[in-house]
Symmetry: C2
């Protein structure tokens, strides 16, 4: 009986950090972290605008401590910027004027938690529509399986991250380098193909989109769903997030 084609690398989709312990991918893999509204879109934007590195921290206490030491700090809870912080986590905060050449301490409800959960990955790359093509090319260049990890909304399944998971999984499969044996991936690709003709209208069905609207924070949505405004691929190495794209071009991988 035919076993799976061992020449191809696997791509797997995980709809929530709570489901991450259940992933089937066993060998070395790269996690693509997804938090479209907002962390991963914002982090890509920060690197597009020239930030040097980002230090994710898990607790407000750490963030406050580092603020006291003179770091720039981005921090939010339930979508709202916290008083002590320099920025919330809207992509529009991270202008070139504000962050070029700087180090940013980053503490968010959703995104930071997911980074700590995926520590067993070889690398954790930041995935967003704004870097989807560059990310795909970078993933093809790495000799690794891929797990696409949706942050979700407070650990629940969320539409916006799932649509991105479908879009990225489809792009990876189209390269011919990957195979997928994952029901969540099948569902994500099918949802993406329903939504892609008019994503902003489809998003009207998403709960988080309405939560952001209530907070007056939904201005960033069209930007967050416009593909390929940047070529950066931010990668977390267990300590800090840096731009991988430049390095991998230099190294030719």
């Amino acid at each position: 009986m035919m076993q799976k084609n061992s020449d191809k690398r696997s791509v797997e989709v995980c709809f929530s950090p709570k489901l991450y312990p259940e992933i089937l991918t066993k060998n070395d893999f790269i996690v693509v972290l997804v938090d479209i509204l907002r962390a991963t879109t914002s982090i890509c934007t920060a690197f597009e605008n020239g930030i040097e590195k980002i230090l994710p921290v898990a607790t407000l206490e750490e963030a406050k401590l580092l603020k006291g030491k003179g770091y720039l700090v981005a921090s939010e809870q339930d979508g709202k910027k916290l008083d002590f912080a320099d920025f919330g986590n809207s992509a529009f905060n991270f202008t070139r004027e504000a962050i070029e050449g700087r180090t940013l301490v980053y503490c968010t409800t959703n995104g930071t938690r997911a980074l700590t959960i995926a520590q067993n990955a070889k690398k954790i790359a930041m995935g967003a529509f704004i870097n989807i093509t560059a990310l795909t090319q970078w993933l093809v260049g790495q000799n690794q399986n891929v797990v696409i990890l949706c942050s979700g909304w407070k650990n629940k399944f969320c539409i916006e991250d799932s649509l991105f998971a479908g879009a990225l999984a489809e792009k990876l499969l189209e390269t011919g380098e990957f195979e997928m044996h994952c029901d969540a991936g099948v569902a994500a690709i099918d949802l993406w193909n329903i939504a892609r003709q008019d994503v902003l209208t489809y998003l009207e069905k998403a709960a988080h989109r309405h939560r952001l609207k209530k907070l007056g924070l939904d201005d960033v949505i069209p930007y967050s769903f416009t593909p390929d405004s940047t070529q950066v691929v931010p990668v977390y190495n267990g300590k800090e997030i840096r731009e991988a794209g430049l390095n991998s071009m230099r190294n030719g991988d």
Copy 2:
């Protein structure tokens, strides 16, 4: 600003037992447990064929103990019937000849675990395509919110349970008695509407379908996706599963 219409009851979809602690429904609710391939389809079949009650047990030790005391026992692990048991958990095991008027001890990989997770629900009803219309009518008759809990495959998202969740959520919304503010429900309904024209072809994409095929246990799939072959609504009361439909007709609720 308009709040949600408090006259309507909520329906929420949960794609995995691992995500059950994250559900947003706070007030009283009924859980609809879903394990299309196989537990909930098999349990509905058993009641259609006249079983008196089912005692779900969580461990093989309990199942063996009760087998020693003369009970009929259904038990499987990873889809295969265990040697000591009378049945596996294929719906086709539960013929009228084999089970009418009897009590069955039931111990399965997926289904039993989900029953113990949802103990905070008012009631836990068994959902399957084979009882979907009767279940919808029964749920309308109860004055409760509804949480549709997919068993998944070893806690992972699975297509077959998600399609049923979408089909049931859509039917409940169509009654006008329910409202939904849940991304998982939106996704489930959209997937169901892709699949419904030709469910068996769509299922070729599902991983569990292939696992069953490998085990020679996929004969039950067309039956499991044919709606309304029974009017029974099996309900778990924290101790045993009994047929609720007869009682609720008698009580007029």
